[in-house]
Symmetry: C2
Subunit: 482 residues, 2 copies
């Protein structure tokens, strides 16, 4: 098969102005590496021939030859018969072997498509943000580097974003932590003791549920439907259990994608206020807004005893491990004490890089948003064929569809998908205790062509699962990462 090609003219445009002061081949190699890493030249695409590119760039043939050789050496290109030089970053797959490296027995073959991690590659500009952060680093090297609450400039940027969203916030109410999951765990541990009742949504993000369970809390599950929350049920559950803490994901809920409207937030806040419950609200998906529509107020604008948890992993990049808490003043001492038992602060350079990224914008990169919309459309279109009779509510944001299968066979589907080199997360993984066998979470975080291939494999798996027996399946699904 001939690889799709990127034209020389397009490359010249992507590479931008020729930099002076560095050798031409070095400039070209660095630029190519950047646009490949960005995904602007996708893996599997062929680069123009050396002759074509040297003409288009008005550079010597040797320059292009040396640059291509450097990229072959560093693993960004392979020379392929009939296609010239082809970009080799693996499509839709980690370079880090995430789950595979962590848990034995789940290592991937090269061509496995992994839908257990709802996160994508870094958007354009990420490498530049790190480079700018590096420029700012020297003045911090003279200190111990322990920034237990976070860098002041980062806390200011984050506080300003809350104010913009209608929630006045002072920088000292913002605490920088090592990602959204770490933030939820910290807040729950700081605000509850082992044995306390903590309300958790079901389904919800499994690692958050697990963190809360490990804190020794007694979990009180609150069912969440694909269409959203049942406010009467929520109010009744909260009144009956009077939990110390309640965890929510209100802005593009994980995994249902539901967005709680302001009127419901008001009712939920009233129920929590009556019960004396502190809310811990995970806003990790907040900035992954794909469609126009109403933008509800942050939950802390409805309920003062509310800790908001933010993260840059979904809006920017998962490799940047920074999250933050927005804490109401009366709870600050409690959170600060717990913070220092967790770790001694987030890395300085990561924080400086996030300062750079947030200065350019808190929201999703427009290119990334367009790609996610396209991928979502591809998935929706393909699902009708792949899973006949399945139902879902297409969410206005977030990274996945929560799909209701025609039969409660999610574990069987996941087991059959593995045979098709496709990893998916069945519903029971998102349940607080059991059930949800009728659901599967399908992230559309990959480029549309990868999503299309994943849906073809899913279709084959669905047909194959019919022959598997009901009840527990032999192979345990891979843990959900994000």
């Amino acid at each position: 098969m001939t690889a799709p090609a990127t034209s020389a003219a397009r490359l010249v445009q992507l590479l931008g102005r020729r930099e002076s002061g560095v050798p031409a081949y070095r400039w070209l190699a660095d630029g190519l590496r950047r646009v490949i890493a960005d995904g602007r030249v996708p893996a599997g695409h062929a680069l123009p021939s050396e002759r074509r590119l040297s003409e288009a760039l008005d550079a010597s043939r040797t320059t292009v030859t040396r640059a291509y050789a450097l990229l072959v050496e560093t693993g960004f290109l392979v020379a392929r018969h009939g296609s010239g030089h082809v970009v080799t970053l693996p499509l839709g797959r980690e370079r880090l072997g995430v789950g595979g490296a962590l848990l034995p027995g789940t290592g991937d073959a090269e061509d496995v498509l992994d839908l257990t991690c709802a996160a994508g590659r870094a958007p354009a500009g990420t490498a530049e943000a790190y480079a700018a952060a590096l420029d700012a680093l020297p003045s911090y090297l003279a200190g111990t580097g322990y920034a237990t609450a976070g860098l002041p400039e980062l806390r200011e940027l984050i506080a300003a974003r809350y104010a913009e969203r209608g929630l006045p916030t002072a920088p000292d109410q913002v605490m920088i932590v090592g990602g959204g999951l770490a933030g939820v765990g910290l807040a729950v541990r700081a605000l509850s003791r082992p044995g306390d009742r903590v309300l958790v949504e079901s389904p919800s993000y499994p690692n958050s549920i697990d963190a809360t369970r490990r804190s020794g809390a007694r979990l009180v599950p609150l069912p969440v439907d694909p269409t959203g929350w049942d406010l009467d049920l929520a109010a009744a559950t909260i009144a009956a259990a009077t939990p110390v803490v309640a965890q929510f994901i209100l802005d593009f809920h994980n995994p249902t994608g539901a967005l709680m409207p302001d009127a419901d937030r008001e009712r939920l806040a009233a129920a929590l206020r009556r019960a004396g419950t502190v809310a811990v609200v995970d806003e990790t998906m907040l900035e992954v807004r794909l469609d126009e529509g109403p933008v509800p107020l942050p939950f802390a604008a409805h309920l003062s005893r509310c800790v908001l948890v933010g993260s840059a992993s979904k809006s920017h990049w998962g490799g940047l491990r920074i999250g933050w808490l927005r804490v109401p003043r009366p709870l600050l001492p409690q959170l600060a004490q717990a913070r220092i038992a967790d770790d001694l602060g987030a890395p300085v350079l990561e924080q400086l890089a996030l300062v750079q990224l947030l200065r350019r914008g808190h929201g999703l990169h427009p290119e990334r948003r367009d790609e996610l919309r396209a991928a979502r459309a591809t998935m929706v279109a393909a699902l009708r064929d792949a899973l006949p009779g399945a139902r879902w509510v297409t969410p206005a944001g977030g990274l996945f569809l929560w799909v209701e299968l025609p039969e409660p066979r999610a574990n069987q589907l996941a087991a059959a998908a593995r045979n098709e080199d496709l990893l998916v997360s069945p519903g029971p993984q998102f349940a607080v205790s059991h059930g949800l066998q009728r659901y599967v979470r399908l992230p559309y975080k990959d480029p549309p062509e990868v999503v299309a291939e994943a849906m073809r494999r899913l279709g084959r798996a669905w047909r194959a699962q019919a022959s598997l027996p009901s009840g527990p399946v032999a192979s345990r699904p891979r843990p959900v990462v994000a």
Copy 2:
């Protein structure tokens, strides 16, 4: 007072080869910034005059003038009457306002000396390691960035170091986490449940004790003397309490500085083995070895059910927030499951920077070791005057002296020190429950001249505390950071 001066010849040597392709003033400014941040030109020192430096560099006067102006602008230099340009990075003080930013009411004036954080500035070469890491970053940007177990090359380097120390280790037994404290917390939470008995040394590092207490464990304290461990007492305590987990700092204990010899490790391991206890051993201070002497085997070579916790914060820099666990194979699944409830992995760039640093060496930077030795000697010499009648055992490694006062007045001393613009950590902060009023921990992590000034303030504080009443003091000491 005239500032001490750095000669033009020394600067020329530090700056190294002139880089081509960047303007000369820019190269000079970057180089100066680097050697200032490194501490190779310390704060308070004057730079040579513009004329002298331009001659020594064989550069134009304008070049030097522009470079100096740039450094004044960015806060690295001040023009001081009679001394020319003086380096202004604050001596012995954070740029990050660590505790001050985290906990209200502990903000620092400019000239406060902070001995509550036993950590120093970054050694020479740190900025370069980050720069090299940045070069390696692009190939990771195409992935999600979640490296839950850690980058393979980093885990290999760390595994090789254990092998070098006499403990064969495979890379998959190494788990990368966000620093030593995070590692201890993770291990204790993974290996115990709320209500379980966990043995902790007393005194010990307060944030570790706090993390364990917050996990819901019942703490079993094991007294540690300034001279080390009482092995009979340890064996009896372990046999009586049969704790599920036991936490130790055996290599330059925090705060006593004691180093447990191999024979004692063997006895301790036997006692733990009989009780079925898993050891969690914090080796954060391991590489801060200042004197020659016996190098005991890692505790996991004596006891197989032992998790070792390592960190780069003390050997390299605290702003690099990377630690790791070395886990025996049978405990790996348990630790991996707990890991993913904590956070989704350490930041990619930090890991790449540590790869660079470890390739150059796992141990303390030789310049840093020399400085710590000098600072320790200064402290030991000054302490006789500052605290007449005080006693201590000078440790062969680590970052502090654990000083026994002639009277149990540590809290009073800390309160009086605050009036002298000196922050110190009194003994009771390191106790599991109470006591240790006779001790104070004094880090020698600052340059000798700063240590000397701190000891003068401590002497004044000791004389002043005599007039304070016994019993609880009004002002709570600042929390210990590291």
